[in-house]
């Protein structure tokens, strides 16, 4: 039971539907940026997206090949472990169902990897069945580099550090290997509705 903070009233946002704001989060209209290092800037013809690891053959897409795949536009709420949530954000990208289609694997986990060395781990089931995308547009515009452009993972049902910026591929794995923030004490799974911010939550 938390003690009352004398003189604290808070500034609730009446317009935000409480059913859409997970515990400990507040709604913001801006789009804060949190990254552990410099924002990478590479020519787009460098770019590829690769699914590798526990697969017969790694599969890769160039930027043009990814853009030629069927895209989806989704409107979702996103939740950052640093406490902000942003409602009704609209993204366009390729569903991971499309990218994983036809890939035969016994893997149960994935590690997403990014330019700059960032990684994050997720159960494979959490990026299937319409739950995850490789997103390259935000609100109808190309995704800005500081927000993860040219493309980032979008897994809105988990805290946003799982939505790896500057994503370059997925490593399919039989075992679960903690990623970057997961190694630094953040929760391995990161469900915002269970407030799984840090290890042991």
């Amino acid at each position: 039971m938390s003690p009352i903070s004398r003189g604290f009233h808070g500034r609730r946002r009446d317009e935000a539907d409480p059913a859409r704001v997970p515990p400990g989060q507040y709604v913001t209209d801006d789009f804060p940026v949190l990254s552990a290092g410099p924002t990478p800037h590479h020519p787009i013809d460098w770019w590829s997206f690769t699914i590798q690891g526990a697969v017969d053959e790694p599969v890769s897409w160039t930027w043009d090949e990814l853009r030629a795949l069927p895209s989806e536009t989704v409107t979702v709420d996103i939740h950052c472990v640093t406490k902000w949530s942003k409602l009704d954000t609209t993204w366009t990208g390729v569903s991971l169902d499309t990218l994983l289609d036809g890939i035969d694997t016994t893997a149960e986990y994935v590690t997403a990897f990014s330019d700059g060395g960032y990684t994050t781990n997720l159960p494979l089931d959490d990026v299937r069945d319409g739950k995850a995308w490789v997103a390259y547009e935000y609100e109808g515009e190309p995704l800005e580099p500081e927000h993860g452009g040219p493309a980032r993972l979008l897994v809105p049902h988990l805290y946003f550090w799982k939505s790896a910026k500057w994503v370059r591929g997925l490593e399919l794995r039989q075992d679960d290997e903690p990623g970057f923030w997961e190694t630094y004490g953040y929760h391995n799974y990161g469900d915002p509705w269970k407030e799984q911010r840090y290890q042991g939550d």
Binding site: S2, G37, W84, E146
Partner: protein, 247 residues
């Protein structure tokens, strides 16, 4: 990127406000006594949780400004005009009040001697807060043979946080004042840019370890420019905060 050991579970704990210190007209430090403080590494942060009478709660993250060797935990908070938590911490909080804390959190934006140097710290505004922890730790642990430079961008001299203390921490401080300067000011008088970083930073061949902390546009520019100058992105650690980022 290197890996760290897995820490134990983080629980909420009560800390008592011992003292409040005005650092600048908009920034206040909170001296806290936390009987079960588990210790921390310089650069880590804590979550602070406030609870209203009707049970409503708000949480934000703040960098620890104290060194692990210090007797108390210190948070330094900038008042954000439209903030929900920072105006409470800077205006309402009194000595004797209790604050709920959870931490320490984060292990990447941390400096310890084993990580080496030379150490270049680049701060925008209240981005200097985690650097105080690193600089005090460097002195307390007698690691002051690691060369360190702090490039600190502030609106004015009055807005410089820890101004007197920085002079005692055996660190080379380069200030740039972006909005107002004393009449006789001889230092930089503009935003951090490529020329300034080239002048202040060790050259890339000396492989400085770089930490950049400040508002998002400041960090984007400073870190991006250092990469352009030839510094290894893997040796540049950043921490960004936005208007609503809360720290």
């Amino acid at each position: 990127m290197e890996r760290a050991a897995l820490p134990r579970r983080l629980t909420w704990q009560l800390a008592k406000v011992v003292e409040l210190r005005d650092e600048t007209p908009r920034v206040r430090s909170i001296v806290l006594e936390s009987p079960h403080w588990p210790g921390h590494r310089p650069g880590q942060h804590v979550d602070v949780r406030l609870t209203a009478e009707d049970g409503y709660q708000a949480q934000r993250s703040y960098s620890l400004a104290s060194a692990p060797e210090d007797d108390h935990q210190l948070l330094t908070v900038e008042r954000l005009e439209d903030g929900e938590v920072s105006p409470y911490l800077t205006d309402e909080l009194r000595p004797g009040d209790e604050l709920e804390l959870r931490g320490p959190i984060g292990g990447y934006f941390v400096w310890e001697e084993s990580m080496g140097g030379p150490l270049l710290l680049v701060a925008g505004g209240s981005g200097v807060v985690p650097f105080r922890a690193m600089l005090r730790h460097r002195v307390a642990a007698a690691w002051d043979y690691v060369p360190v430079r702090l490039l600190y961008s502030s609106r004015s001299l009055d807005d410089v946080i820890y101004r007197e203390e920085l002079e005692q921490l055996d660190v080379e401080v380069v200030l740039t004042l972006t909005r107002r300067r004393p009449a006789a000011w001889m230092g930089y008088r503009r935003r951090v840019d490529e020329t300034m970083l080239r002048d202040v930073a060790w050259p890339p061949e000396e492989e400085p370890l770089v930490y950049v902390c400040g508002p998002t546009p400041f960090v984007e520019l400073a870190a991006g420019t250092l990469v352009t100058l030839g510094h290894d992105p893997a040796r540049i650690k950043t921490e960004r905060f936005g208007p609503t980022g809360g720290r």
